[in-house]
Symmetry: C2
Subunit: 239 residues, 2 copies
Amino acid sequence: MQVAVVGAGAVGCYYGGLLLRAGHAGRLRPDTSVLSLQNGVDNAPRLAAVIGHAVIPVVVYVGSEMAGPGHVRHHGGGDLAIGLSAASEALAQTLQAAGIGITIADDIDKTLWSKLIINCAFNALSAVAGISYGPMLEVEGTRNVVTSAVQEAVSVARASGVSISDDIIEQILKIPAAMPNQMSSTAQDLARGKPSEIDFLNGYVVRKGAELGIATPTNRALQVMVKLAERGKMSGQRK
Amino acid sequence: MQVAVVGAGAVGCYYGGLLLRAGHAGRLRPDTSVLSLQNGVDNAPRLAAVIGHAVIPVVVYVGSEMAGPGHVRHHGGGDLAIGLSAASEALAQTLQAAGIGITIADDIDKTLWSKLIINCAFNALSAVAGISYGPMLEVEGTRNVVTSAVQEAVSVARASGVSISDDIIEQILKIPAAMPNQMSSTAQDLARGKPSEIDFLNGYVVRKGAELGIATPTNRALQVMVKLAERGKMSGQRK
């Protein structure tokens, strides 16, 4: 029997696990395409290792938020960049027909890292201060912090063998004017008391930098500030 | 194309919504069985109205918790009671073969309400005090509150045309000795900062009681205490 457990918590995982052990549940067909639409640069291989099935990385350029149960609010953007694979052309056609702007990226690592570097620039600052991109950049010194975070991340990317455009900092500094009211996904996670992705954003640059012998003091400070804000919220909660 | 969005947040709902509008995603086959394994007595019809597909109510008797990502901890129990339907016999066989104790309930309303009444007895107290079932019942006065909550809920159930066993209070008062270390699902929700089900447990008895002209002061107090605890946690969080 084919079984899908939707919204699995402690009860769904228990029964889903028993059904899986009995040979049902969670079976991906060999021709199923699995796409990862998360921030970060190494989700596809990590997910593939867990599920034992190829995963196609996708880079997401959308401003959206959950405005309530079953209600998603679209702030702008919506394009996707999808990695090369045998299925990517057919997937792109399906997505395009649904009104989704899509490119098949011939260098998906460059695309993933460029998005990661945008996340490293803005996510932590927006989250810790609870501030949207527009006013954020008006605060004195912010531009310097953003520039340092980007420069560190670019150094780590290039030392990892990933090509990054020379004008990335100029491109990144234009984003707040284009989406002044956007709060980062990390800010949305923090406001909801959800664990943030920060260990896979600035935290990834810090880890990768340590491996490569590249100093990343700005990214480390941004990562740690988000971790502290998360902890502060949790200890404010009753156990 | 068949599309499933897994772990949908603001991004997944946005793209899933566009794909659904384009004719993909979320299509249940006519012969798909949908089961609801949630606490509360009216989830099946409410879910059926949303998805436009019959839903089979299931009553769950398990103590389990999420011990971490991908790790469910089983504390005890595990039996299910499933409502009558054309598919129930085949479903019961599949579940039984997976090691799940299952009965097909000929009076599922009685079964749902009997479980609801257990939830009304213990969930709120365990949640607000952060206490497990064993020590809870040792505190002076707790037995009286539990008994009142059960008596109110039984009155509402019977006035709703649902048959409830005469010895339900004796059966319920035996539960803490059988699962002394269990925290209620409401306690687990509160500890995680998740919205609780309380409006569909004690809160359901309060609403239904108001419709039927039956006083439910104990259930109202239990419901409101959980709501206050939820609010207290939220206002302790940074926005």
